[in-house]
Amino acid sequence: MKRRAITVLNALIVFAAFLFLWQIILWIFHVPRFMLPSPYAVALAVLARFPSLMNALAITAEESAGGLIASIVVGVFVALVFAQSRWVRKMLYPYTLLLQTVPIIAIAPLILMWMGAGMPAVTLIAFIISLAPIIANTTQGLISVDENLVHLFLMHNASSRQILFKLRLPNAIPNLFVGMRIASGIAVIGAITGELFAGSGRVGEGGLGYSILYASSQLQTEYLFALVLAATVLGFAFLFLIMFLEWYFLHKWHESARAVEIE
């Protein structure tokens, strides 16, 4: 407990030093405030526009969460199909790589053109970008089962259903969490990228990406900083939620779960 308090204290000290350095730079170089506002001005902007900031945050959070959850459901399903045979895997796996390598920035405009701007299109973009790590990691977990465990199951005349649900799937849970951790971060990035192109169905009610675009065009640099801050907090919140779930489900039996704790 004491060690954790020290960890938090250290992080706060670094943060304070960072803010101080930021302020010093402003004083020494006389940077105009539309280029780099002071930390204090950013804080004021957060307070002054708190409702609209929260609104933008909520929209982006909803889109990223929707995309992430969809990618987990679809990704696990695809992985289960992949785990059935090497043949299926060989045939279809290259396409998941494609999913990972296609630049989301390039296909976002296409999706918006097909679906129209708005939350469904942005959610779809978040879904596409977070799907590949879920598929890849879960498939890995499903197929990398100790051969002797499979033999053990066979010795008890286990059905292929039993092997899948009592052996392969539990074995893949730690891998699924690795995939979810990666996907949680990029789902937020995907949603914001989508919003940069799409904005919102209703003017003035877009998520963080839309608001960032708007604030920068209006030279509202303080608010722009506040939005970037909000986006970072959102990414962190997602990551911590996944890490908590990972700890909750794995800490009793899995080695990696103990390493999650910060030293």
Partner: protein, 257 residues
């Protein structure tokens, strides 16, 4: 099932096993193992001793020759056979209790029977205090106990053990050796035990088969006439030493120059 008294427990007749075009791993092996016999298989790496177990278990099939377990094909005899692997091969996400119950669960035994059996086995192998622990929390010796308890849970007539104690320290190994003999005396199963250790083979067995590699074949056979029950005192007897050094000498002959 087939309580046919005169059928040997395991019958291996002219069995050859090769993978693809490569040299045979086993070359026309003939082994007969009687009911309730404890047979150890010892030999240098690559002599195919683990392959013999896999063939008896039906996890691999011979290229030629026949194998009968209790008069049946290995696949049909699986219900009467349990396998103990070299590493304990426990499911890490299951507690000790749940691991012991795995085989019964897969064979769809009713829950109350499973629980009764688990409670009895926990007592038998001395795992009661850790019944709700996960494998991660156990020592190597404890894990192996769980593995043995899991194998015994389905009341096998044949136990196939593939170097089960190879990774354990000598003290733990000796303790588990004594325990295996106690369990076997109580429950009267047939055992085929693969090992690298000569003293272990001598201490446990009724009979020792020494296999030679390239291609795998039975090089020599020893009958162990040490008194039963095999107490720790047996290990220190002169007869034990004489036989062990004899087996060790024969084993050395099989190692290719």
């Amino acid at each position: 099932m087939s309580a046919n008294g005169d059928v040997p427990e395991i019958e291996i007749v002219g069995v050859t096993k090769r993978y693809g075009e490569a040299r045979a791993v086993l070359d026309s092996i003939d082994v007969v193992i009687e009911k309730q016999e404890f047979v150890s298989i010892i030999g240098p790496s690559g002599c195919g001793k683990s392959t013999v177990l896999k063939l008896i278990a039906g996890l691999s099939s011979p290229s030629s020759g026949t194998i009968r377990v209790d008069g049946m094909t290995p696949l049909n005899a699986r219900e009467t056979v349990s396998f103990v692997f070299q590493d304990a091969t426990l499911l890490p996400w299951r507690t000790v209790k749940e691991n012991i119950g795995l085989g019964m669960e897969l064979e769809r035994a009713p829950k109350d029977r499973r629980e009764k059996e688990i409670a009895m086995l926990l007592e038998l192998v001395g795992l009661k205090p850790v019944s709700d622990s996960y494998p991660r929390e156990l020592s190597g010796g404890m894990k192996m106990r769980v593995s043995i308890a899991r194998a015994l849970a389905t009341h096998p007539r044949v136990m196939l053990l593939d170097e089960p104690f190879a990774a354990l320290d000598e003290m733990t190994r000796d303790r588990l050796n004594e325990e295996i003999l106690r369990l076997r005396t109580e429950q009267k199963w047939t055992a085929v035990f693969v090992t690298h250790s000569v003293p272990e083979a001598v201490f446990l067995s009724d009979r020792i088969l020494v296999l030679a590699p390239n291609p795998g074949r039975v090089h020599a056979e020893f009958r162990v006439d040490l008194p039963m029950p095999r107490t720790p005192a047996v290990r220190r007897s002169k007869e034990f030493d004489t036989l062990a050094s004899h087996v060790a000498h024969t084993l050395r002959e099989t190692i290719p120059q």
